[in-house]
């Protein structure tokens, strides 16, 4: 013997064993025709030299991945003297599936039962003799990472390779299937084929096209006879795989003893409460409420002023430098009111955004969001929507563009259209600064409640509109799906912070790019024509705003400033605050946007304005995504108009009803 093939599941310790055997005597290349890495090494044992080939980690020897094909082809055509199957002792049932396939191939196999130390730690008891007898394969316990058992393994491998016997598997796949295998085998036995015919017959019955191609030129029998599909009463592939698992289950049952797991673990206990039929939704609402409250307590009270002071200080410093440099007045005006009044107004809310994303990141990392999707799934179904729509809605809380893209998981076109059309009601991160500035101005004591109410209103509105669509535009039954509940886990601080930083950085980047362009363009319009009072009603911007403002008069905020900010928000939602900051920076003493808003809005009109921004036309990126995803300009136009109408009606209702009630 001189060639040993190492085969095993990924993470079974196969490569550790390879390294332990060969040390630095390795050669790394690629398998021909594929990008899979080929590792070969040599070692000497008792005066003889051996070559070890480390095959790609794989769970089976089918033809579903390059790794599987490479491993299978090498075992079949590479003529290794022996195959060492590295089996993870802590996960023996799963690993033995590959073993059964090696046995079916009729090659010489020795099992290296690896990670025995970890199995011991997990109190898994394995009767090696019983397992070896049941499988008919030599088994050696190894701990490759500590070089334990390797000499014994090599000794057994050499001894077995010198014996005139091969590993085989001797169990029935059931009478019907055994008969079919035998029929195919007979055909193959009568042909000039060098591969093990029983194994080929099994693979052909499984429907393995790769194997059929391998023998196609050598057997002149129609494919239907080599790969029968049956009469529909037997599912060959399922039966074959299932029998292998049954075989493994029986053997493991006799030879392996594992500690009993707790009947009900912590995840089960928590899930009983958080996915409860009646308590699930209130718990979800409570958790989100607490998140919003904490956002205000930590983000605003502890960090808010700090960033405001920094932005103001930088603004004053830059203007001071420009003054010293005798810069023209218009440049100073652009920098102080356009950039620091506008974009600076957006920057001041970064602490709140940081804190909110941090808490949402924690919820995601713990696995709770899957529970939230599940409890909302029930509500979605009750109003005739597909439960999966809520998953895309959760994604929409970050940004509506990926939210809409994630509706691709909905197979039914009607379900998908509804999910796309209601997604922009999910309040994306870009709308957050708008709420935050108005909350700071009018509802500083109840920030958490107001923010929570806005997010909740978005969900409620999505449900109502979705229900209307499902009864009118897109009638049909919602399809069924099953959701996985992953186990809870402790959030990993590093990942939460990294995710949070990604989102915050994107916010800063957009403020410095898209918002900068929008603000620059609108600043030009706000100081032209020459000679007018900057940011006044006489400017081009003021005139456009004044022309459009009557639209919003019934909603209580029919000022030209509010109007231009809303229309600028269609370009990008962050622009709303930036424009408000810019146009009010010039008219308000102290250039403080919050103070300026307090002088022109009331709590009622502020609420109407926030609801308008929550519900009205999404940004152009979302509209473009709708066009792309629906492949229809018609739906893109619909997406631009219908939320505007809904937002306007909601804002008018709030203002008019509120006024009647004396707010």
């Amino acid at each position: 013997m001189n060639t040993i093939a190492l085969v095993g599941n990924p993470n079974s310790g196969k490569t550790t064993l390879f390294n332990a055997l060969t040390g630095s005597n390795q050669h790394i290349g690629n398998w021909p025709g594929v990008t899979v890495e080929k590792k070969e090494g040599k070692f000497k044992y008792k005066g003889s030299q051996y070559t070890v080939v480390d095959l790609p980690g794989t769970y089976s020897l089918g033809a579903y991945s390059e790794d599987e094909v490479v491993a299978r082809n090498y075992i079949l055509t590479g003529n290794p003297d022996i195959v060492i199957n590295v089996v993870d002792a802590t996960n023996i049932e799963r690993n033995l599936y590959l073993t059964t396939q090696l046995m079916e191939m009729g090659v010489k196999v020795v099992i290296a039962l690896n990670m025995m130390d970890e199995a011991k730690q997990k109190k898994i008891e394995i009767d090696l003799d019983s397992l070896s007898r049941s499988l008919g394969i030599p088994i050696v316990a190894t701990i490759a990472s500590k070089n334990k058992g390797l000499e014994d393994l090599i000794e057994k491998a050499i001894e077995f390779s010198n014996r005139n016997e091969y590993s085989s598997i001797d169990f029935s796949y059931g009478e019907d299937i055994d008969r079919e295998i035998e029929k195919i085998k007979e055909i193959l036995d009568n042909s000039n084929i060098e591969y093990p015919t029983k194994w080929l017959a099994v693979k052909l019955l499984e429907g393995d096209e790769e194997i059929h191609s391998l023998i196609e030129g050598k057997v002149s029998i129609p494919k239907e006879r080599l790969m029968p599909v049956g009469d529909g009463s037997v599912e060959y592939e399922l039966e074959l795989v299932d029998r292998r698992y049954d075989f493994i289950g029986n053997i493991v049952g006799k030879s392996v003893r594992k500690p009993m797991e707790d009947v009900e673990n912590l995840t089960d206990k928590i899930d009983k409460i958080v996915t409860h039929k009646y308590f699930g939704i209130p718990i979800f609402a409570l958790i989100m409420f607490v998140v919003f409250q904490l956002t205000f307590v930590i983000g605003e009270d502890l960090l808010g002023e700090f960033v405001v002071d920094i932005v103001d200080a930088i603004g004053d410093f830059v203007v001071h430098i420009l003054t010293i440099a005798h810069s023209p007045e218009w440049i100073k005006s652009f920098v102080s009111e356009g950039i620091f009044g506008g974009i600076g107004a957006v920057f001041e809310f970064i602490p709140l955004i940081v804190v909110l994303y941090f808490f949402i990141g924690i919820l995601e990392d713990t696995g709770y969001m899957a529970r939230a999707a599940y409890v909302m799934d029930g509500l979605m179904r009750s109003v005739g929507l597909h439960g999966k729509s809520f998953i895309s809605m959760i994604v929409g809380f970050g940004c509506n563009v990926p939210g809409i893209m994630s509706t691709r998981t909905l197979e039914d076109k009607k379900d998908r259209m509804i999910a796309i059309l209601i997604n922009p009601f999910m309040s994306c991160g870009a709308r957050l600064p708008i709420y935050l500035v108005f909350i700071a101005a009018f509802f500083p004591k109840n920030g958490g409640i107001v923010l929570f109410s806005l997010y909740a209103l978005g969900i409620i509105m999505a449900l109502i509109v979705g229900k209307i669509f499902s009864k009118t535009l897109f009638k049909g039954e919602a399809s069924h799906f099953i959701m996985e509940l992953p186990p809870y886990r402790m959030p990993i601080f590093k990942y939460v912070v990294r995710d949070m930083w990604d989102k915050v950085w994107d916010f800063i980047y957009r403020a410095g790019s898209i918002i900068f362009i929008v603000v620059s363009l609108l600043w030009i319009l706000s100081v032209l024509p020459f000679g007018v009072e900057p940011y006044s009603q006489d400017s081009i911007l003021g005139q456009i705003g004044t022309f459009l403002a009557p639209i919003f008069k019934p909603a209580g905020f029919g000022t030209w400033q509010a109007t231009v900010s809303l229309f600028a928000g269609i370009a990008a939602k962050e622009a709303v605050v930036a424009i408000l900051g810019m146009v009010y920076a010039g008219v308000s003493e102290g250039s403080q946007l919050v103070a300026a808003l307090q002088s022109v809005f009331t709590p009622l009109t502020a609420m109407a304005f926030m609801v308008m921004t929550l519900l009205y036309t999404p940004c152009t990126a979302v509209i473009a995504t709708v066009k792309r995803e629906t492949n229809s300009g018609k739906w893109a136009v619909f997406m631009a108009i219908y939320p505007f109408v809904i937002g306007w009606i909601a804002a008018v209702l709030i203002y008019q009803v509120g006024s009647l009630l004396g707010f």
């Binding site: 995840t267 996915t275 994630s406």
Partner: protein, 91 residues
């Protein structure tokens, strides 16, 4: 085992590999393996909320705001439903 796992999945709108593992007295890894086999054979289809689009995250302008929460969902295909019905009729 594959049939049993398919049946366990079909029982409810929720599934968790650890619960199925406990129910069938097998390891969680084996349940995941079985679900993988069922998907591969077309009895079950799986999707995740992410990645759901053709664009690679590295070249997507929205990757940083794209929610990373991964919620796996399964649907039993018509092939899977036929198998379950056949199994039920045999009981």
């Amino acid at each position: 085992m594959l049939r049993k796992v398919l049946y366990e999945i079909s029982k409810s709108r929720l599934y968790s590999p650890s619960n199925i593992a406990k129910e069938l007295n097998i390891s969680e890894a084996l349940v995941e393996d079985a679900i993988g086999q069922l998907i591969r054979m077309g009895y079950v289809s799986q999707d995740e909320t992410s990645p759901t689009c053709d664009t690679k995250c590295s070249s997507c302008a929205y990757s940083s705001v794209c929610n990373t929460v991964t919620i796996k969902t399964l649907s039993i295909t018509s092939k899977g439903k036929t198998l379950l019905e056949r199994e039920a009729s045999m009981v």
